[in-house]
């Protein structure tokens, strides 16, 4: 089967950013997952597992009223900022931003294509609304987030917050711990660092490739307020983000880390918890199966019209 044999339709739904009941996030996360599969099968390359694994985190963070942003005024100076330090996870961010209304949903079709604003790894040069910084060389995004939080807290002295997500394999980069040291040293309680802890990286299990554990003790020793949750449990994710906002409001003088235990490829049965899905896209057949599992209302096999 070729990708042309699949009917790929992106739903037009845009979601509001507001307080929600936990169960409300399920459909949003499923929508993001469908977008990820569609983007990747159309692109023919890219990362599947990681983006699917943190769809729930993005659904809660962007659509649960935790981050302040204005999709139609993306560079609004009062916005909270989000840095996807693990830049290879960008399909989930692109889908999330499109669903929030930052840019047309149809643009998701252009992922990784020539001239697209949806580069293979996030590039600020393309001017895509919502992309605060180029990332992808692992470890750098979190230091950038520290710089942003430093500026907000100690220079502009405003109440903006910085959210950043790193992978877990990414924590093998030494400079990540330089960032951790600096975040605690400057008491950046406006920084929320999310670790997407799926214990998978390209070569295998993180604990086999190079162990980063124990993570909670490490972050605690570095001076963080440490929160842990099931990264697919909406109530637990909400509790963590609520706690971070409370930490910020009370100026606890510590950065917050949320260690979110996730499963790579979550939501697609044959990808789940399999590190081999780190860096490859689904075939058209696999995309068909994945979209059926994700209850996509549009997916169908079609005969393309001959030119």
């Amino acid at each position: 089967m070729k990708v042309e044999n699949l009917r790929i339709v992106f739903s037009p739904t845009v979601y509001e950013n507001r307080r929600r009941r936990p169960e409300e996030f399920a459909e949003i996360a499923r929508e993001i997952r469908r977008d990820i599969i569609k983007m990747l099968v159309l692109a023919g390359s890219g990362h599947s597992g990681g983006p699917l694994g943190c769809a729930d985190i993005h659904a809660v963070l962007f659509f649960g009223g935790y981050m302040r942003y204005r999709p139609k005024e993306p560079w609004w100076v009062g916005r909270d900022r989000y840095v996807l330090s693990a830049g290879h996870l960008c399909p989930v961010l692109y889908a999330t931003l499109a669903r929030a209304g930052f840019f047309p949903i149809e643009e998701l079709r252009t992922l990784r294509k020539f001239g697209s604003r949806l580069q293979g790894h996030p590039g600020r040069d393309m001017g895509l609304p919502g992309i605060e910084t180029s990332t992808a060389s692992l470890g750098q995004g979190i230091s950038i987030a520290v710089g942003m939080a430093l500026s907000d807290k100690w220079l502009d002295r405003n109440d903006r917050r910085v959210f950043a997500l790193t992978g877990d394999g990414e924590l093998q980069e030494g400079s990540v711990w330089e960032a951790a040291m600096a975040a605690a040293h400057y008491r950046l309680d406006n920084l929320c660092w999310i670790v997407d802890n799926n214990d998978c990286q390209i070569d295998g299990r993180v604990h086999d490739v190079m162990s980063i554990y124990p993570l909670d003790k490490k972050f605690d020793a570095f001076g963080f307020a440490v929160l842990e949750c099931d990264g697919h449990n909406y109530a637990e994710l909400m509790a963590c983000f609520d706690q971070f906002l409370e930490n910020h409001r009370r100026s606890i003088g510590k950065p917050t880390v949320i260690i979110a235990h996730t499963k790579m490829g979550r939501g697609v049965s044959f990808m789940e918890d399999d590190y081999r899905w780190h860096g490859k896209p689904p075939t058209p057949e696999q995309a068909l199966k994945a979209l059926q599992e994700l209850e996509d209302p549009y997916i169908a096999v079609i005969e393309p019209i001959e030119a």
Binding site: G123, R124, D125, E132, T133, S134, T135, A136, S137, G139, Q140, S143, I144, A145, V146, G147, M148, A149, L150, S151, D152, W154, L155, D156, G174, S175, E178, A179, M181, A182, Y186
Partner: protein, 341 residues
């Protein structure tokens, strides 16, 4: 045409430190990140004057570079300074992606440049930063010639938008430019007119080039001395005009010959005006400990090597030589490889 006389000896790093203070006075969004060697690269002057706008990041150059990116993305003009070996090499990936690809307003001050670092030895003598930094798209790279010009260059890179790097040294070196000496980013300055050979120099070698021109004049050779302080973007017009009018070129820099300012000049001239070029610089070797003057002599970074190279370049021009020969007949000078490294 400015006339130059020696005003004294001063380290270029002092110009950097003083330039930062001027920027701090002019712009309240200028901030400085320290990498533990603040006295040594003289960011301490800014720290003492504007403590609220100085952040110590410790011995963590990768982190400092990317924290600077976060500050720049928040509307600040961050400067991070360290030794060139650490703020052009250890953080090269950060400079490439987070600073240059990201196209943010981050400024780097790279100290301890060149062999004249002296007793600290090879590990601390940055001799390769020009090669690394000038390959980065969106980057501006300046190598000023003395204390005063370093001060001007520091202010200048703070006042343009975009990634920029200023290279300076540790040792006291001749100070000979004044407030009135012309300086403009991206414009090479002709420091001495001449039409027999063009000596294109940057950094501390500009003074040596002027000394060499004096000596050449005694032999009836008029050398044009160009202070090519902005390596990127380079002043192509001044360089090409000099090559066309002189027909022979010498480049001089306290840096590896490979990939340095001379290489950049050669790229320009190979395309626009191919003429014989001789390269004075460090020849594919590491430095070592010693007094700056001893080292400059040993590694061939004085007016005498420029002088000899000028004679070779002129001879190659006049004989139509391809340069594929060894030159050993310059009296009183150790032999130089006519191929220029």
């Amino acid at each position: 045409m400015p006339e130059f006389k020696l005003l004294g000896q001063k380290p270029t790093r002092q110009g950097f430190g003083e330039g930062l203070v001027v920027l701090g006075e002019r712009y309240e969004n200028v901030v400085v990140l320290g990498g533990d060697i603040t006295e040594s690269v003289m960011t301490s002057l800014f720290r003492d004057r504007f403590p609220d706008r100085f952040f110590s990041i410790g011995v963590a150059e990768q982190n400092a570079t990317t924290i600077a990116v976060g500050l720049a993305l928040s509307g600040k003009i961050p400067f991070f300074a360290s030794y060139g070996t650490f703020c052009a090499f250890r953080n090269a990936d950060q400079l490439r992606i987070s600073v240059c690809y990201n196209f943010v307003n981050v400024k780097i001050g790279g100290g301890h440049a060149g062999i004249s670092v002296g007793p600290d030895g090879a590990t601390h003598q940055a001799l390769e930063e020009i090669a690394v930094i000038r390959t980065l798209p969106n980057m501006t790279l300046v190598v000023p010639c003395d204390y005063m010009e370093t001060k001007k260059a520091t202010i200048a890179i703070g006042e343009i938008w975009g990634p920029a790097y200023v290279r300076f040294g540790r040792a006291s070196v001749p100070w000979f430019t004044t407030e009135e000496t012309p300086f403009q980013l991206g414009r090479a300055e002709i420091f001495r007119e001449g039409n027999d050979v063009a000596i294109i120099a940057c950094g501390s070698m500009v003074w040596q080039a002027l000394l060499a021109a004096d000596e050449l004049a005694k032999r009836g050779i008029s050398a044009r001395v160009i202070n090519n302080h902005t390596i990127k973007p380079m002043d192509i017009e001044t360089i090409v005009t000099a090559a066309r009018e002189c027909g022979a070129v010498v480049t001089a820099e306290e840096h590896q010959i490979h990939g340095g300012m001379g290489s950049a000049v050669a790229e320009v001239l190979a395309k626009n005006c191919p003429v014989p070029i001789e390269f004075v610089g460090v020849r594919d070797t590491f430095g070592g400990s010693g007094d700056p003057d001893e080292l400059l002599e040993k590694f061939g970074l004085t007016w005498r090597q420029i002088y000899a190279a000028a004679l070779v370049a002129i001879e190659r021009r006049d004989k139509g030589s391809t340069g594929l020969r060894r030159v050993t007949d310059v009296p009183g000078i150790h032999s130089l490889d006519g191929r220029g490294g």
